[in-house]
């Protein structure tokens, strides 16, 4: 069954507003990866977090990995129309090699 849950499923914001998507796992993750998929495109890697409590920033994007390594978040400050797409988190469980993807959060930004 689904082991990595992601919320919200959809988010519609006005350009300039902030956006956050959350990722939760029922079990401890070895790492967490975030991907962005533009409409009609394929997932593109954004970042990987490995350490407990890790925070990484990429310009307006801030990624966090929880202390217990069971949850993560992606926060976008002052969204732009170029941020439109679906954001997926993916976690590697300690057992097996499958990378478990969340169902994604689809972000729509209107100018």
């Amino acid at each position: 069954g689904q082991q990595v849950m992601q919320i919200p499923q959809y988010q519609h914001v006005q350009e300039g507003e902030d956006f956050t998507t959350y990722c939760n796992s029922s079990t401890t993750l070895s790492n967490i990866q975030w991907y962005k998929q533009r409409p009609g495109g394929h997932p593109v890697f954004l970042i990987q977090l490995v350490k407990s409590g890790e925070v990484k920033k990429q310009k307006r994007l801030t990624f966090q990995f929880g202390e217990a390594k069971k949850n993560s978040s992606l926060h976008i400050t002052a969204t732009q129309t170029t941020d439109v797409g679906t954001y997926f988190c993916a976690g590697h469980l300690n057992s097996g090699y499958a990378l478990n993807f969340g169902k994604g959060t689809s972000l729509l930004v209107t100018p």
Binding site: S30, Q33, Y35, F101
Partner: protein
């Protein structure tokens, strides 16, 4: 350098026919993954190859699905006796494989995705 390529980009087939999808990973990437993405859904893991190790087939939905990989090169995903519910985009990804994380644990390197094959079963 060249990214992950997949062929065909689109495939339309009739129910009951077999299809074969191809993936060319990035040169030097030892790990290769196949995923399925149904319309509007997330990515569903199918199978994972790592070097010469036995593949992790835990995600294959039925025995109609199989995949092969020769060494660290091309992989093919075969779907036999296709059904309408097999309609989806099939994505392939490759990576350098495992690495040692800062806390000493093994972790998996980032994955680079191909453009996908859109399969439609009529």
């Amino acid at each position: 350098g060249a990214g992950v390529s997949q062929s065909p980009s689109n495939k339309v087939t009739e129910k009951g026919k077999d299809v074969e999808l191809r993936c060319d990973p990035i040169s030097g990437h030892t790990a290769l993954y196949w995923y399925r993405q149904r319309l509007g859904q997330g990515l569903e893991f199918l199978i994972y190859f790592q070097g010469n190790s036995a593949p992790d087939k835990s995600g294959l939905p039925s025995d109609r699905f199989s995949a092969e990989r020769t060494g660290e090169s091309v992989s093919t995903l075969t779907i036999q006796r296709t059904q309408q519910e097999d309609s989806a985009v099939y994505l392939c990804a490759s990576s350098l494989g495992e690495f040692l994380a800062g806390d000493g644990r093994h972790s998996l390197d980032t994955q680079y995705f191909g453009p996908g094959t859109r399969l439609t079963v009529l």
